[in-house]
Amino acid sequence: MEHVLALDILVLMVGFVVGYLYYIKYRTAVGGVIATPFLVIYVVKEPAIILSTGLAISLAVVALEIVHDRYLIYGRRAFYVAAFISMIVFLSTYNWVGTQISSAFTSLIGGIIAYNMHKEIVSNGDYLRPVLVWMAEFLTVMLIAFIIYLMAGVITI
């Protein structure tokens, strides 16, 4: 157990370094600081989580665009909207995905990423770039984390 915790912390550190480098290079922080590495830690152990989180991110980003346009809501209020949508989507797909992870934080990750994506979209007037940058960052951390857990024997192919 301690062994896995140490690996999780190592992946978090890797996530921070990769996030930092992506921020310096692209000046966007789409996933926020902690959400992307945490998502990676969960997804490596239970790949199905990417389905519910991916759906939560997509729906929350679209919802924020609509809410922002229709009601002019922004900032912290927009974050609450994203967080609620993310939690509802996660709960709705919990059985379907069949996850064993019991951390409530998992249900928030999609909302955090969606809110940061919304901020980048509004800040830069560009929809595609934030999505592509986040996907690249996520895949980079995912690949490194996969290698770390595989070499430590936490996961097997």
Binding site: R70, L72, G125
Partner: protein
Amino acid sequence: MNIYRVRPLANGMLARYRENLRKSIYRVLVSGSRGKTGLVLDIYDILYNRLGESGVKVLGKVTGDRPRFRYDGEEWVIDRGDKPKNPMLDWENGGIIAEFPADIYVFENQSIRKYTNGVIHRIFRPNIEIIPNIRLEHAELGETLEEMAHTFASQFYDLEYVIYAETIRENFEATYPILEEYAIKYGVELRVVDVPEGQLDILGIERVYIVQELLDIMGMEPLSMAEFNHIVHHIMARLRPRYSPWGFKYIDIAKVNDPSSTRMVYNYLKRNYSGPIYIFAYFRGDRADRTRFFIPFFEDIFRDTRVEKVFLAGRYYRKVKEVLGGKAVEFYDLEPEDMLREVASNDGLLVFMVNGVHHEVDMVRELVETGPVPAGEEVRSAEASREESGEPL
């Protein structure tokens, strides 16, 4: 006085906001770093005087220390309630648009972050944006001039025209290519204001030429001599030192809180004033980015023989104190009255700089404006003032 109280947008207000925005002909957003408030008010005055009688409605809204707007010849003060420094952009701007239908809206861009800059554009949907200048001021809009240019230019996507008027050559050279790149990308007409070489050292003179350009876009006659004088009068009034009852002249340029603009005003003052100069510089703890941007300016002040002393107040100014060497005086080491007596005895010019929004600055400003306190009345020292506010010493 008319007061507009900011409140949450009810459904009916949202519908009226959308309707009024759709019906408006011009939505002019004034962004950039310096001179936004004065520019908005001058544009409003000129448009209202020209069009008011013909029934065209104009609304000019400014923010800053005194958020307010002018509509139909009347001034309205904006009451933001308990949190005046932390306004809800949607309630304030959406609400005013909803309740005051206009053909021409001229709004000052009140954002100091990339995100809220985007939010303002989405709320206001400008078709003309004026950028009088781009100066290093709020790090969250960009750490460099190039980053700031990207921040402003990335919002060009909905615009038809951009008017750009940066008069500092190096700032222009750093920013213009970026603005041009985005203008081409989004099909926006980018108009650069040409200020005659001989007027470049008058801070804010570009305002005249910006208004000319805007009138041209709107298909109106150029400025008349009376309108020209109206704008120039406003520009020059801000650059004129006032007399203090203490017996010296003073000028408050703390509202000009970016180093490039401060340098321009400072040079103008040096040319037009012959005595020794004393600076009262206040550094806000929550504006460490601004303090950092000002360090090269104070390096030059150290070498400037016209400056006698720089009184430093506020927080986190250690680096500024270092570069100023012997010219630096800790404001907290003396009584405010002693500082003012020294300026008066040397017939100096006292210049307020860097930050103007803080109760300690208000206290010194009030003391300068009201003159010496009659004997017997209590005098509050700077430290007492800090203790009262609960700030750590």
